[in-house]
């Protein structure tokens, strides 16, 4: 069979124009599918930036919270209640909200403010410049150096900000794993200062961050929080909830599904049509092979090999092209929201396998129908 597959390979690859057209079709389809799904994955990843950067195991929140950036304030007693629950090692409050910074030129820039627990500073970012204890100095803020950093006119340690008519001083510059989705610079400060600077409704705790004594304690913590009328979610659950919000409640998921389907149809049309034309043009040769003594399963094997080889080569090229483009885009725009995940790779692979299956099914049917007698008749 190895020799027959090599024969199939040569028949395919030596027909350079057809092979190139086939590869281009599949590469283009894979590129489109991968790029769209990667963009969506990137958006979802950035949407959960706070969850990823803070890194708490369990998040306690109001049941109405649909995504991390839509927090609903909780009363202080929730924090006390959680701290006294069985299985909880410690629990701290977190503030997450937005504010306006007045820049020296008089314009305003919206920022995300994260208020960390004053005692533990749980969830603090990794500092590039400055010392973390300076966050306790009067009006101290730490700014994240990410793609949005220049929007605050590239502040340095000692720079002053006017935040909701309050004076703020940059005491540290930090880096985080993931930038936010909405293009706003991020400032870290203490919980107390955050609620002091930013006008708030009656309840101020956005989230209670919980560290369980062990992973096995999480189910009982969830139950106790639920009994309190609130909800506890693990980091992964909260990220999934945020992703679900985008997928199912914003129309984003439907759009991506439509775009992916269009890419699939485009890829299937180009590749299927080209592969079918390739088979049609070689039909006489397949007939000759049949007359010489090739069995049907030999011909089916040849076609499946040709379709699979083209599909996987196109898949590799498409994925490579997509990765290259994302890498180039990130060189220019560090916060560019695209991320190729294993799920994206699997979706792309599944689509390519379907394209190869449909194309080869049509081709196999055609080849199996050919009669070697037709070759004799010319």
């Amino acid at each position: 069979m190895k020799g027959i597959l090599r024969l199939a390979y040569k028949l395919l690859v030596n027909d350079k124009s057809k092979f190139t057209a086939l590869l281009l079709g599949i590469t283009f389809a894979v590129f489109l599918i991968m790029f769209i799904t990667s963009m969506f994955s990137g958006v979802l990843n950035h949407a959960s930036a706070t969850v990823i950067n803070i890194g708490a195991s369990v998040w306690v929140m109001d049941p109405a919270v649909k995504a991390v950036f839509n927090s609903v304030g909780m009363p202080d007693y929730v924090l006390d209640a959680v701290r006294s629950m069985q299985g909880v090692k410690y629990a701290v409050p977190l503030y997450s909200g937005g504010a306006l910074v007045k820049l020296p030129d008089g314009t305003f820039q919206s920022v995300t403010v994260i208020g960390l627990d004053d005692t533990s500073l749980f969830g603090r970012p990794s500092l590039l410049e400055g010392k973390i204890e300076d966050i306790y100095t009067e009006s101290g803020f730490i700014v994240v150096r990410d793609a949005e950093f220049p929007k605050l006119e590239n502040p340095h340690i000692g720079s002053e900000l006017q935040l909701n008519d309050h004076r703020g001083v940059i005491v540290g510059i930090a880096k985080v794993t993931t930038s936010g989705l909405f293009g706003a610079p991020t400032l870290y400060t203490t919980y107390e200062r955050a609620i002091q600077y930013i006008p708030n409704p009656r309840y101020t705790i956005s989230y209670v961050l919980v560290e369980p004594k062990s992973a096995s304690d999480i189910p009982q913590i969830k139950k106790q929080v639920e009994a309190l009328g609130y909800q506890a979610r693990t980091k992964q659950e909260f990220m999934k909830r945020t992703a679900d919000f985008f997928i199912y409640e914003t129309g984003g998921g439907t759009n991506i599904l439509i775009m992916t389907a269009i890419s699939f149809i485009v890829g299937l049309s180009i590749s299927g049509q080209t592969f079918y034309t390739f088979i049609l043009e070689n039909l006489e040769r397949f007939g000759a092979l049949k007359a010489i003594g090739a069995k049907s399963r030999d011909l089916v094997g040849m076609i499946l090999f040709q379709a699979t080889f083209t599909a996987f080569t196109g898949y590799g090229l498409g994925v490579g092209l997509c990765a290259l483009l994302i890498a180039l885009a990130k060189l220019r725009l560090p916060s560019y929201a695209a991320k190729m995940t294993f799920s994206d790779l699997l979706i792309g692979l599944g689509m390519v396998v379907m394209i190869a299956t449909v194309s080869s099914y049509v081709a196999v049917r055609r080849v199996l129908k050919i009669e070697p007698f037709d070759i004799f008749r010319g």
Partner: protein, 231 residues
């Protein structure tokens, strides 16, 4: 090995049904011996190619029997029939049907590859057959780079590569000029025909009749006894 290569009796073949039915073969019977080069001649549409296809296991007759070396080929399963064609029959098609994207040697190696020989071994063996037809120096070229006569010789090399007992040549001179056609058949007669091989040739080119052991004349789907004549 029995001396009778092919024994066909009462072959009937029609195409279409009802009023559209066309009779291609009408009660055709023939025998061909090893060591013979049998020509089947006749006008276009007389059923020559249909007969050749039925004898070589490509087209199933509606009635009749074909025994090759004593075995009834139309009792074989499709896979057995494919093996039979691969092992016993060598085809030289009218339009050669060489693969333009493969080299000459790779074209000749096809039956060997179908016989599950490994690639390198098959190519090496194919070069030997190209040597027999005088084209070893052309082994690495694509068929399109060869003349019509050379392409015909490549097709012959491919047909004999699997060492078949029966060689079938369909209109071998149709695409060649007179001299080349004559030279090719002369070559086949001298170098390919032997006492263990039977060659069937369909042609209407009387310039090559001199190489025939027997000539069978076909007309309107019948082999006319009068036209069966030893040369």
């Amino acid at each position: 090995m029995p001396n009778t290569a092919i024994q066909a009796t009462g072959l009937v073949k029609w195409f279409g049904e009802g009023e559209a039915r066309t009779m291609a073969l009408r009660e055709v019977s023939l025998e061909a011996q090893f060591g013979e080069m049998v020509y089947i001649v006749g006008p276009s549409g007389s059923g020559k190619t249909t007969l050749l296809s039925v004898l070589s296991g490509i087209l199933r007759p509606n009635e009749g029997k074909v025994l090759v070396e004593g075995a009834d080929i139309w009792r074989l399963s499709p896979d057995q029939l494919a093996d039979f064609r691969l092992g016993k029959i060598g085809f030289v098609f009218q339009d050669y049907h060489l693969f333009p994207r493969l080299t000459t040697a790779e074209n000749v190696a096809i039956p060997l590859i179908l016989k599950r020989k490994n690639w390198e071994e098959a190519i090496h063996e194919a070069e030997k057959y190209l040597d027999i037809v005088g084209l070893k120096s052309r082994a690495g070229l694509a068929p399109v780079k060869l003349s019509g006569g050379e392409q015909q010789r490549v097709a012959i090399a491919r047909a004999i590569a699997a060492q078949p007992d029966i060689l079938i040549l369909d209109e071998p001179t149709a695409s060649l000029d007179g001299d080349t056609g004559h030279a090719i058949l002369s070559f086949v007669h001298k170098n390919i025909l032997n006492k263990d091989r039977c060659i069937l040739v369909v042609t209407h080119d009387d310039r090559i009749y001199e190489f025939a052991t027997r000539i069978l004349n076909m007309e309107d789907g019948r082999l006319n006894g009068l036209q069966e004549r030893p040369v």
